[in-house]
């Protein structure tokens, strides 16, 4: 079902199957509104703790208390986002699921950035030369070597400096996109678009070099 063009009003949402009563209370004043906000915070904290626990392996230097503080911060930031964007909820999922994703996002971003906080992000384009050591391909080595050279040449000549920087850092260096966004003063959506455009240019270059199958 396509999304409606305008935000539905509360009375229309009340009839949607995924809408819990407490979601409607979030938009009211007084004790009911406060109870709904407390319920929301509990759900967000549960989701944030769930995410931090899943990703704790990348934060082995943090104590249990510090990990919980990270989850608390994520839940608080998620609550602000949820309340600011209540009008975006269209009842296409349960409100609980809709709210969860904000806490998971905030927690995941905080974990990634914390894990990379003291790590240098190398934005040296020359690092794509490491592609030469990616190992033999599944076919014969000559064909694979030619493909690698076409890719290296594409990275060298078909991309803008910024595209090269982001593609190499994100794919070859394994830098999380949220960490890159922070270091480059950008955001995930903008950097992914840049990455997407870089991949499209690279595929076109490699296809023109005699490997049209990369577009299959």
């Amino acid at each position: 079902m396509p999304a409606p063009d305008t935000n539905p009003d509360v009375s229309a949402l009340a009839a949607a199957p995924g809408v819990e009563e407490w979601y409607l209370d979030l938009q009211t004043e007084g004790a009911r509104g406060e109870a709904a906000a407390a319920h929301l915070h509990g759900l967000l904290l549960r989701a944030a703790r769930f995410e931090v626990f899943r990703r704790r392996g990348s934060l082995s230097e943090l104590s249990a208390v510090e990990l919980d503080e990270l989850a608390q911060d994520a839940a608080a930031d998620a609550a602000v986002s949820v309340l600011r964007r209540l009008g975006d909820f269209r009842g296409e999922s349960s409100f609980r699921t809709w709210a969860y994703k904000f806490a998971l996002l905030e927690a995941a971003v905080k974990v990634r950035r914390r894990a990379w906080r003291d790590r240098e992000v190398t934005l040296e384009p020359e690092h794509w030369e490491t592609l030469a050591h990616a190992g033999p391909g599944p076919d014969d080595d000559t064909e694979y070597g030619e493909l690698l050279e076409a890719v290296r040449d594409g990275i060298r000549t078909a991309l803008t400096p910024r595209q090269r920087q982001v593609l190499v850092a994100a794919v070859l260096e394994g830098v999380p996109i949220d960490v890159l966004a922070e270091r480059l003063d950008s955001n995930r959506n903008a950097l992914y678009k840049l990455l997407h455009d870089a991949r499209r240019r690279l595929r076109a270059h490699v296809a023109d070099a005699g490997f049209p199958e990369v577009n299959e």
Partner: protein, 77 residues
């Protein structure tokens, strides 16, 4: 050598070339998509481009896995 036979590093460099949505649209649709998946509905048909995005974007893929896992946990607790 076909696109499907490429090694993982080259696949990540080149991407799939399939039509895909961006990170913001993925976030907007993620709750609906995961609930459709868990209900056994054809999520990829109903939310086109999201699966291809998850293949190309490790961050959104992690959050998709987490939301799915959290809802699965809710369903048994």
């Amino acid at each position: 050598m076909t696109g499907r036979d490429l090694d993982p590093t080259l696949k990540r460099l080149l991407g799939s070339g399939e039509p895909e949505i961006g990170c913001d649209e993925c976030f907007a649709q993620l709750d609906r998509y995961v609930e459709l998946e868990l209900a056994g509905a054809p999520a990829d048909e109903l939310v086109p481009g999201l699966r291809a995005h998850l293949v190309g974007c490790p961050a959104c893929a992690e959050e998709h896995e987490s939301l799915r896992a959290l809802l699965e946990l809710d369903s048994v607790s």
